[in-house]
Symmetry: C2
Subunit: 342 residues, 2 copies
DNA sequence: ACCGAGTACGAAAGCGCTTCCGAAAGCGCT
DNA sequence: AGCGCTTTCGGAAGCGCTTTCGTACTCGGT
């Protein structure tokens, strides 16, 4: 492992400015107890010499770490990369650094990553991604995180419910409802859901919204085929094959995220099934390519970049007595992948 | 700024294991001078207590920082997010953490980010993204980076030439050549290039390849319209408008990356110009959505994830006498966006 | 049984910073 | 002039770790 180069030390600056180490430290970190005149001189010298404090020493000595840990499922998934973009953006403005790691959609891996971040003593952790409906897993993850918070760490989660932490929550249920309404309004009655991993709360919430819409229109959600596969493109492909085979009367497919919707479209294309003439397809998230797909995708827009910013913003604020919830807006974007039922 | 919680200290583990601090340190870091028996006991106790070393203390005491800094233009650009995915993947396997920051395609911002990483004493820096053809900018960035390397920092760059650093280089010129050959082979003679930011070496290299292909077939590259805009989707749209207005005889458009190609396709769609019947379009990179576009995009595939891994791999190896170059393969992927010239 | 070489471990010195504490100096007041 | 109070600063003690150095002990050779 390479070793970073040596650097200017605070004592060098202090000597050059003709003050003690302690005074120099106070001057640079803006503590009071230093005359304006001396403080200015120290700052001046420090600037001239291009001094930058060693963050390891600073943190060790009881200062706070200035890096934020970000845990995402997978950074090359557009949903997460946009969230990460937002976090990095705001972090940059606040001159914080971002440690990023993958949980790979695996609860135990996620826990490992969080532990590692805590060990790194990062002061802020942002966990993006769905919660897991497995109570066992959630419990142990919750335990680690709440210990972290009790120790003074700041935590914010994106897109998952958390009892203790501040959270940024897309309105998954309302989004699902809007999708359901849209399709039912177009006359669709045989709607199938490509639902992704069953254990994710994101999935269950979005499904609940769709079910509510169906009930609101006198349809029976229980009759609706629900295909659980992976929450990625390939999952959409696989599920579509099953739908075509087992539920031939289906006229509309709701994929619970855009990645799976892309898989659905690609499978339909292979089977020469016209969209939306013979089958309507909707996604969820509105990742940036959704508009460029063939055909362009009707979906629910979530402000991913903002969600990243909001989460960091929450975490930067002092902790409130009760965990804060920030709900994001959502918007139905109607494009070319949906049309009237055949 | 929140403060990370306290933690178990090495001395706690040492006491519990009945050895001195020094011995415990040696045992856990695998140094020799400790009997197998004692070392085992210490490791056992450490595991039981869930001890994790404080990285700040460790680094301060002369150990090496175990985080790698990654500078990308923008993490929510698929090209960079896939590279980042590769870096994070390998870093995870080596239990390194990744600090990620945006340069936002701005040379001075990039330099600022690098400086900040150096100040953070990260031991490894990976810079992804194109070089800048502005010699002034390149010089000052080169100065900072070579100082960093002289001080023992490890550096690897992706997709840019560097005199001193190890580099992972896609074969931009050969890729450009392959695209040119493909279109010329389909009978296209009036080819326009959507080139993106003129100051990037990636752009100039890819253009050089296309030009070479034209010369090889007796065509004059100088006659070819070259549109310089931003290296993003919107740049492709703007450039396409210009092409349609100023170069109506064009039958094929080469976009020098997929993002711009998506812009080109979207502009053509608005103008109801059939692809590939009336206009062929190619991109470069083969980001994962390229296959799902309308129509699916002919492009040059670059192994982005691998490139990220390779860069970190290079940086982890001890420095060689001469900087190493690792050339990546490339592959022409023919899809539905290209066809014979009208 | 004695000596030099080797091995296993502990004591202690930092790494560069923050912060507590105490000394010195300046002030208004009696 | 003498008192207490505040302000400004320096000395020094850590933060938790790695690493050097020194000491006690073991062992093969004679």
């Amino acid at each position: 492992m390479p070793k970073p180069g040596p650097g200017l030390r605070l004592i060098d600056v202090a000597q050059r400015a003709g003050v003690s180490l302690a005074t120099a430290s106070r001057a640079l970190s803006g503590r009071d107890g230093v005359s304006e005149e001396v403080a200015d001189r120290v700052r001046q010298v420090s600037l001239e010499m291009g001094y930058v404090a060693n963050p390891y020493a600073r943190t060790l000595a009881g200062g706070a770490s200035s890096t934020v840990g970000l845990v995402v499922h997978q950074v090359d998934d557009p949903y997460f990369s946009e969230i990460a973009g937002g976090v990095i953006q705001l972090a940059g403005e606040q001159s914080l650094l971002v440690q990023i790691c993958h949980s790979g959609r695996d609860p135990s891996q996620e826990l490992r990553q969080i532990r590692s971040l805590i060990a790194q003593r990062v002061g802020i952790i942002i966990v993006a991604g769905s919660g897991y409906s497995d109570p066992q897993v959630e419990a142990s993850s919750r335990e680690v995180l709440s210990l972290y918070e009790r120790n003074g760490g700041r935590l914010a989660v994106i897109g998952r419910h958390s009892l203790s932490a501040d959270a940024v929550l897309p309105d998954n249920e309302a989004g699902g409802f809007a999708l359901g309404e849209h399709l039912i309004g177009l006359g669709h009655r045989n709607i199938a859901i490509v639902a992704g991993t069953a254990a994710l709360t994101t999935v269950t919430d979005r499904m609940a919204g769709v079910a509510a819409a169906m009930r609101a229109h006198g349809l029976d959600p229980a009759a609706m085929p629900v295909l659980h596969t992976d929450f990625i493109r390939e999952g959409g492909r696989v599920a579509t094959e099953q739908i075509l085979r087992d539920h031939p009367s289906t006229t509309a497919i709701i994929a619970l995220n855009d990645a799976m919707a892309m898989g659905v479209l690609s499978a339909l294309r292979e089977h020469d099934i016209a969209v939306p003439a013979r089958m309507s397809v909707v996604g969820f998230d509105d990742v940036s390519v959704a508009a460029d797909l063939a055909p362009s995708l009707t979906t629910i827009r979530l402000p991913m970049t903002d969600m990243g910013r909001m989460a960091l913003d929450l975490a930067l604020k002092p902790r409130a007595a009760r965990p804060r919830r920030r709900r994001t807006g959502h918007q139905l974007i109607v494009r070319d992948s949906t049309g009237p039922a055949a």
